[in-house]
């Protein structure tokens, strides 16, 4: 748009821009058709395998959604891509690891109320652990914002971006120190036992330990259920906070126009802190859920999920909360389906290919607003 205004006398340049956009769109349509064709034929030849992948993708997608929300909310309010966000996710995973493996925090209800049913007591214990991880991540993020980002609030965005990358490295390598999280891969201890069910034409049955998975069945575990349920619960809570509470409205007001928010008596600094805290709490929850699904924690574990959640946020339209959810669910499916039907190492390449295509064809993402005037 700008270029066409700036150089109205060179139609060839304009032509080029128009053609590039069309080329990008054609490419996108072609890829979509190929993907649909491929997925359609897989669905017909082996529907159970396909369904299995979709379930796995859903579980992953919800974890990405929890991370992506933090990127999108922070971007919405301070126009910063918080590259340290993935590492906050890692901190969340480690906090839950320590709480479970070292402190046995998840067993407190069983100790305090011995005649509680085991299911309920583990449930309450696990909720305690996830809340603790969320709270610690929130504190970490508030500290990061105050120390590293706030002094740069009015600096060029590139300075803040580079600082965010610096904070990210700091969290990773500080975590890698022997007396912090250590540089090792650590096996995660789940707070509960895994139960797996198989769904087939015969109905739903529990899968016994060591039992081979029969043909034409889809399996799912309590892990998938917990991830999806907890994520949806957190999303509903977030939706309520942002949509209905005073602080949520203030967050939207500050995101739109800080000066005017200040004129209304809103303490912009604390609203920004709260935004960081909420985003980080969601990442902390995601860290625990991710570690339950893939039971291993290490100081680098935040990088790839963080990047994928970032792509999800861009795909959905950075700054948009529903966008983050939709983008993340698409990313989850894209990753799992490409691992299943193309090749496992390809799944990361696919994620970033999606990023490139989005940036080419629709930089504002699915739900992104056009550039609006900003104060």
């Amino acid at each position: 748009m700008n270029s066409s205004k700036a150089v109205p006398s060179t139609p060839s340049f304009l032509d080029f821009l128009v053609r590039r956009k069309i080329l990008g769109l054609l490419l996108l349509i072609l890829i979509l058709l190929l993907v649909l064709w491929k997925l359609g034929s897989e669905l017909v030849t082996n529907p159970t395998l396909f369904l299995q992948q979709v379930i796995n993708g859903l579980q992953l997608g919800f974890v990405y959604a929890l991370i992506a929300l933090g990127y999108t909310m922070v971007y919405g309010i301070v126009r910063l891509i918080n590259f340290a966000h993935g590492d906050v996710f890692m901190v969340g995973a480690f906090m839950s690891y320590y709480a479970i493996a070292r402190v046995q925090l998840h067993t407190w209800p069983a100790k305090v109320f011995p005649n509680l049913s085991p299911g309920l007591s583990i449930g309450i214990g696990s909720i305690t652990v996830i809340l603790l991880s969320m709270a610690i991540c929130a504190l970490v993020a508030i500290t990061i914002e105050r120390v590293a980002y706030k002094p740069l609030r009015n600096a060029p965005r590139i300075s803040a971006l580079i600082t965010a990358i610096g904070v990210s490295f700091f969290l990773e390598y500080f975590g890698a120190l022997n007396f912090v999280f250590s540089p090792n891969f650590i096996t995660y201890k789940r707070p509960f036992d895994v139960t797996t069910w198989m769904v087939s034409a015969q109905g739903v049955q529990a899968l016994q330990k060591g039992q081979a998975i029969p043909e034409k069945t889809v399996i799912f575990s309590n892990i998938s259920i917990i991830i999806v349920v907890v994520s949806i619960l957190l999303l509903v809570v977030l939706q309520y906070i942002v949509g209905k509470t005073k602080i949520g409205k203030a967050m939207r007001a500050v995101a739109y126009d800080k000066q005017t928010a200040r004129l209304m008596g809103i303490n912009v600094d604390s609203v920004i802190s709260v935004t960081f805290a909420i985003g980080a709490a969601l990442a902390g929850a995601a860290g625990m859920l991710y570690a339950i699904a893939f039971p291993q924690v290490f100081f680098w574990m935040g990088i790839i999920p963080g990047l994928k959640a970032f792509v999800a946020a861009v795909l959905g339209g950075i700054g948009s909360i529903p966008g983050a959810l939709v983008g993340a669910l698409i990313m989850g499916q894209a990753e799992v389906l490409s691992a299943a039907y193309i090749s496992t190492p390809m799944r990361d390449a696919i994620a970033f290919t999606i990023l490139i295509i989005v940036l080419l064809v629709r930089p504002t993402g699915i739900f992104g607003e056009a550039q609006r005037e900003k104060a």
């Binding site: 939207r252 007001a253 200040r262 008596g265 809103i266 104060a375």
Partner: protein, 237 residues
């Protein structure tokens, strides 16, 4: 005295925007600051509101020095600004915009009754209460901006060019509302380029030119001052 501004100097970096401004406002008055583009009117209001910091000088509100008070505490003390260009939160609904005006109010019952009162004063806003602020017309946005300000229960209302970009009939309406708000006990500092309208409802006025007060007096006198007529009232009054 409600508001007293003494020898205020404000800079934007090296730009000396306010060059020792003095004015005051008595409780219950409408005082207007008039002046051309770039005279320093918005700068004055933003300094009072705590968005800008004075390099020297003093702002007293009900005898208390508020020169370096935080923006949110200024609102808490009862001063609210309705900014130039209305600055509605486009992504918030009309009701939510009004709630932002009441951000520092804690009494829920009172917020509800204030909401009812402003919706009664501005029936158009009631019709559009669920709409996004950004979808309102210019006139409706100006009403919303004033209503949002009233939600903070101000004792002093700072209005920055409320007539900007409105049709003459809407300007009449807005000024009628301003007069009405004042009659119900709110003091008003009114910044305007529309000197005719501003002076017609104000008690007193100050003329600003490049960061200085060059003229002051009762509004009726200024309306008939040859210099004001020449510069701001289109020559022949």
């Amino acid at each position: 005295m409600m508001l007293e501004v003494k020898d205020l100097n404000v800079y934007y970096g090296a730009i000396h925007a306010l060059r020792g401004i003095n004015f005051h406002l008595e409780k219950g008055e409408i005082v207007t600051l008039i002046g051309a583009n770039g005279a320093g009117k918005s700068t004055t209001l933003n300094t009072i509101s705590g968005l800008l910091r004075a390099r020297s000088g003093q702002i007293l509100f009900q005898g208390e020095d508020i020169t370096y008070t935080e923006a949110q505490d200024i609102v808490r003390k009862g001063i609210i600004q309705v900014p130039e260009g209305r600055k509605i939160f486009a992504t918030l609904s009309v009701i939510e915009n009004l709630e932002m005006g009441a951000y520092l109010q804690t009494d829920q019952a009172q917020i509800q009754s204030d909401l009812e009162a402003v919706l009664k004063r501005f029936p158009r806003l009631r019709e559009r209460r669920k709409q996004f602020g950004g979808t309102l017309s210019g006139g409706e946005q100006q009403m919303l901006a004033i209503a949002r300000g009233l939600m903070s229960r101000p004792s002093l209302l700072l209005l920055d060019e409320p007539s900007m970009g409105l049709s003459p009939i809407l300007v009449e309406q807005i000024f009628e509302i301003i007069r009405d708000i004042n009659e119900q006990g709110t003091s008003i500092l009114l910044v305007e380029q529309n000197a005719q309208m501003a002076l017609s409802i104000a008690d007193r006025g100050y003329v600003l030119e490049t960061g200085r007060v060059v003229l002051e007096g009762p509004a009726q006198e200024l309306l008939h001052n040859p210099m004001v007529i020449e510069a701001y009232l289109g020559g022949h009054g």
